[in-house]
């Protein structure tokens, strides 16, 4: 099947699946993902690996747009209001997930390095699927507010943790091999500093460009061209310079929301146009899932999943008891944060490149766990939002962000 036909099939089947799953009170995102599983190599194999690869560019645009939207959680005024508790919640829930996963894996006899790397990956909560559920439910309220902030910080935190850990591991290995020297130190620490500083700098630059230009653009269509152009530029340059596209696009969103009064209009323009992109994104994500991995998940996968779920749930409840938050946040935030994809898979691929000797175990565990969490996470997030009473299903979708 050629790419255009595949794309058409993806969109139509996504629509169909999205409608079908609504009857069983499952979020559309899950429907898209299931449609992907059915279409992809693991299912009917209507879309081959090659076609998936050539469609990846859509995924990158969509993920860039999603992270851009999430970046707007860093609006200074709002962040001043809820920033402290969001930061506390994020740090505790992700650290607890990391500690439980790493500890469990150590107890299961894994080497320290693998336990730590998987622990760091376990921190991540998928921004895309969680955000899509919030948007689909038209969610609004304290839980939704906190959730979008926590997810944005969580991804940054996870990436930083990984970069620090990878730098330490690089350093340790290089020192064992050739002793400590400036060259060794430089090689080990450079990627960490560059990815953090450079990505933020890139995001800020593109954000400034976008904000400056947005004030002169009035038409809806032009606005979209500007936005997608800026996001593509940020993602592309980040890839070119070995920066983190995730951090860069988050940075664009954060800069934009703070510098330009146009951001609301921008997000509105986006929300009216982007659903096909997101449908493609999640169907492709689903097609990449391999349900065949599930039986082979093994004791490590079980430890990982249990540790991560435990860490997220315990962490959020623990913190929420000590700091003043609404009861709905305390009760439901953890359940809304179970999705895992995007960055986790990205970090797994980075490990494959940088530490190929560690990759086999990590790849197996992460791919299996992502499959589970991508199917369970959105459903759980939807239930959390519904039970928190923050959904407004009747209203039409007007904004990407609540």
């Amino acid at each position: 099947m050629n790419n255009l036909a595949a794309l058409g099939l993806i969109l139509l089947l996504a629509l169909l699946a999205g409608h079908v799953v609504k009857f069983i009170r499952v979020p559309e995102v899950t429907g898209y993902i299931l449609a992907g599983v059915a279409l992809g190599p693991a299912g009917g194999n209507l879309i081959s690996h090659e076609a998936l690869n050539s469609l990846q560019v859509f995924s990158e645009v969509a993920l860039g747009l999603i992270l851009f939207a999430i970046g707007s959680a860093f609006e200074l005024g709002r962040f001043r209001r809820i920033g402290r508790r969001v930061a506390t919640l994020t740090i505790v829930e992700s650290l607890l997930a990391a500690v439980l996963v790493a500890g469990g894996l150590l107890a299961a006899g894994q080497p320290l390095v693998i336990a730590l790397l998987l622990g760091v990956i376990a921190m991540e909560t998928a921004a895309a699927s969680t955000l899509m559920v919030m948007r689909e439910c038209n969610a609004e309220g304290p839980l939704t507010d906190t959730l979008s902030g926590v997810i944005a910080l969580n991804n940054i935190f996870c990436l930083t943790g990984f970069l620090v850990l990878a730098a330490g591991l690089d350093l340790h290995r290089a020192v064992l091999q050739s002793g400590l020297g400036w060259e060794v130190l430089y090689r080990a620490l450079y990627p960490m500093i560059w990815q953090l500083l450079g990505s933020v700098a890139l995001g800020f630059l593109v954000g400034v460009l976008l904000a400056a230009w947005a004030s002169t653009v009035t038409e809806h269509g032009e606005m979209l061209i500007l936005l997608i152009g800026a996001i593509l530029l940020a993602v592309g340059v980040a890839q070119l310079l070995d920066l983190s596209p995730l951090l860069a696009t988050l940075g664009v969103g954060a800069t934009m929301v703070n510098l330009s009064g146009e951001s609301r209009r921008l997000f509105k323009a986006l929300a009216q146009t982007d659903p096909p992109l997101y449908a493609i994104f999640f169907v492709i994500a689903g097609a990449d899932l391999d349900l065949g991995l599930l039986p082979s998940i093994g004791i490590l996968g079980v430890v990982y999943i249990a540790g991560r779920v435990g860490g997220k749930l315990l962490g959020t409840t623990m913190v929420a008891r000590r700091i003043p938050v609404e009861p709905v946040v305390r009760r439901y935030l953890g359940f809304a944060m179970l999705s895992q994809a995007g960055l986790a898979v990205g970090l797994m691929l980075a490990i494959d490149r940088r530490f190929p000797d560690l990759a086999p175990v990590i790849t197996t565990v992460v791919l299996a766990a992502v499959t589970v969490f991508e199917l369970v996470g959105p459903v759980s997030a939807r239930h959390a939002l519904v039970h928190a009473g923050e959904t407004h299903p009747e209203e039409p979708v007007t904004s990407l962000l609540p």
Binding site: Y190, W194, G198, V200, L202, F204, L205, A359, P360
Partner: protein, 397 residues
Amino acid sequence: MMSPADPEPSPSIPIHPTLRRIVILAGGALVVLLVGSLLRPRAAAPIPAVPTNELANLPELSQRRMMRDLAGYVAERVESFSRFLAPVSAAGRGGLLIKPDSALIARPGSVVPFGMVGLSRSDSARAAARIGSVDSIATSWILVLARGDNQRSLSLTGLAGGVLPLSCGPYRLRELVVSTTVPGSFLGAVAFDLDGNALALAVSCADRITLISLSDMIRALRQQASLERQLWPRYGLRGVGPDSAAQIGMAAPDGVMLTEVILESPADRAGLWPGDVIQRVGSYTVTSQTDLASALDTLQATPIELHRGERKVTVSLDPSPASPPSTRANGTSGITLTQVEPGSRAERAGLQPGDLILQVGYGRNPTSAMVRKALNGNSPVLLVYQRDRQRSAVMLP
């Protein structure tokens, strides 16, 4: 944030302080990006992967990764093995074919990479030591490790045998019998147990890859050596391969040059003649006595392609004693040597009084003048003579 009083007086255009801060920040960001991308460290030289077709053709990513790890692993340990390496002259001629009956035939082809399984860092020295002991177990056979062309990979180029002359220029070991590959995802390995004992070699058998135990292989090699020794009693011929030919002063042939043929033997009946260079037996290309022995052993009543001087000749060799004698080689006349002067060329070449000179160069039925000229001349020349019931070729130096 927005103070109405701009602290710095601007000459013409008043710049909003927030805007100025943004511009400064953006400038800083630009500097960070530029400096950062200039400071990027060059990628460290990757460990050279062993260049093999197997590596390129591995279908699964996991297999390629494993292969890469293996190549890196071996490259790391080159130094610890280097003192055990023997110089090998013909490293390109490894490759191994195992016939269904598990006799071995050396095949001109590629050297496949060498690797180890289940060997921890501290065990490498012991493993090398045990390779030495394999040598003593095998008596006449030695396990050879050789560096690859890129100088960083190791190749197990073969088990070479003591039936060969032990010196050939600087090289002690010349015939390469086997190269290694490993089953499935472990292409290219010797299997050691964790004590460092070499247990098995993985070999490519036509299209498949098999792990054969070292003791089986040694047995097969010995059997093959005995095959080689059978060339004389069974077929009545002896020859030299390209490497040994130089030793006895002959130009290296593109095959096996016959040096001796027994009269009335199958070789004689087939019309084989000393000085003939055998290049193909049936479908096998022959580059060594081993090839020749294995091929003859496999095939019966075989067409043999050979070069006789400039001519290309095909003969048919039937090892059964009942085969009719060939008439082509009969009716050859020669010159009998009556005396060999001490210290002469003839004596140095091993000629004795009573030898019947049948051929000078590639001309048969020589006249006494031709023989005298060859014996007294200075230029190297091939002589074929008959003594007792045997024809031999000799190179006058």
